[in-house]
Amino acid sequence: MLDAQENPTRSYLDRRVAEFRSQVQRRIDGALTEDEFRPFRLMNGLYLQLHAYMLRVAIPYGTLNADQLDVLAEVSERWDRGYGHFTTRQNIQYNWPKLPDVPDMLARLADVNLHAIQTSGNTIRNVTSDPLAGAHADELMDPRPVAELIRIWSTDHPEFQFLGRKFKIAVTGSPSDRAVTKAHDLGVRIVTRNGETGYQILVGGGLGRTPVVGKVIREFLPKADLLPYLEAVLSVYNLAGRRDNKYKARIKITVNEMGLEAFSARVDEAFTRIRPAFSGADQTLLEELQSAFAPPVLPPRDTGGFDAARRADPGFASWSDVNLRDHFADGYAIAMISLKPHGGVPGDASAGQMRAVAQLARDFGHDEIRVTQEQNLVLPHVAKADLPALYARLKAQGLATANVGLASDIIACPGMDYCALATARSIPVAQQIAETLADHEIEVGEMAIKISGCINACGHHHIGDIGILGLDRAGVENYQITLGGDAGTDMRIGEKTGRGFSYDEVAGAVERLIHAYLDLRDEGERFRETLARTGAEPFKAALYEEDTAHAA
């Protein structure tokens, strides 16, 4: 809530941990049934999965400091199996916690102001943002103060703890939307009009069973109106959203059934009512947050060593070609750290790797680490002069795979290796594809392959160049392929190709698609551009070539 100085405060977190500790104890003693206990554990991010509990910890807008990452590592070693899994929503998941240990895990996380609150349940979830916020050259404004403002406002908000369904918000401050705002229940894009900063508001986006591209509900919302406007959207949704059917309860269905115009009119009505309650304290807080998120001081550094190292070491040259992004400051770069070693589990990092990255952030990265929606890590502010040393240390940790944005940088949800809702496996499919494509991925260039283990679409398959959805077809895993999705500013939902592929066929099918792309593309053309030019037919022909061969 808005009156909190530091939110959530330590005393608030302590209270929540103590509360949960007693709930766990009462469950173990038999005083609470599972039905009574389940909502409590979900309120604390604790799920029961296929083989074990899973604890989901929020990494608000994907920003961590080195001490926090160290604690994430420590928690994985003391109470889990020595690794963590970074998710597409800027969370970390522990796959093997024991129920009696979870309160201790949460208490340790609270030491560094991390928690699992609102990572589950029908509330406003962890607010996500651009993982390159405050660093990328193309950014208009750092979105994190706004994300933090929204987080403070939404945490423990009394009206919005029991929504019809979960509610996800993302914020971006860049014209190249790296926060996938159009796939969120509510998206905030920082924009300017006539020199004034404000927000474009998107509503009703989402993936899952019914993928919908978010719609613009406000082209330009003045800065001071943000929270009252969000409150208006939430209150209309809270009243009008369906509660009779879980699958129709997300705001995207409310907006579609009511129509954007009618929905927007009701929001405007609510806004008029709510607006006067916001007296400007939120704007004062936003200003404070803006100074708290001010970029680090980046002294000018010579880049001669960087250029020399590129000439001397082809491995470094290739890594720096692929894994660096443009920083706003001369002589600096954003270093993407791949958690997708060829054949590894996408998004997993061992405790040792987390500690190593934390130390690298201290030594070279102004104490900042980011977690991306693509399940990688980032050091957002590294002097180019330090990159050769950084690379050598990443390499020693198995973290120097030069594939960020390439074909083997696959998003994969946990799927049936862990997830109780899964209808098929995702991880081993990603491993097979990565290994198949590793050798020619540089030639292929930018490519987004995304895999979900069920219709819930945590692996964002709808918005991959190549999307893969694992289903259970009559007791057998079957993988449906979609083409032409796009997670960028103009988000696009991919289209289904045709019959699905078996577990053993799917990596080969993707390889045929990639070869078709290499054959068909004009110079410099991205996959989606080739697809737009040629249409899906030649790709389908490549996918189903055996079918036609058999028919002939």
Partner: protein, 101 residues
């Protein structure tokens, strides 16, 4: 219309660890499906489920999972139960996590 009864076993997750457990003939919970009681008739299945549901301090979410019977004991007849029985098919890198595994 009620679903046709399928022979199988009673499975659940262990309250403390979350691990997969199966109900054995003697009413104890075991971690190996092969040692689970293979249930062939509906009345017995209902009775065993009732027994399992009466032990919330051990078993979370007991249910009847279809299985096949073999000389070596019951085996899964659907891939979901196979993965539950085997653990993740794609273990994290081998050097990790041996300590608690």
């Amino acid at each position: 219309m009620a679903k046709r009864f399928q022979p199988g076993i009673v499975s659940a997750n262990d309250l403390l660890s979350g691990a997969v457990i199966y109900l054995a003939k003697d009413g104890t919970w075991v971690s190996s499906m092969a040692k689970a009681e293979f249930i062939t008739d509906e009345a017995r299945a209902a009775a065993r489920l009732t027994l399992a549901e009466g032990q919330p301090e051990i078993a979370v979410g007991p249910y009847l999972a279809p299985a096949d019977d073999t000389d070596a004991g019951p085996v899964p007849n659907h891939f979901r139960e196979s993965f539950r029985a085997q653990g993740p098919s794609a273990p994290a890198r081998k050097s990790w996590g041996q300590a608690h595994a």
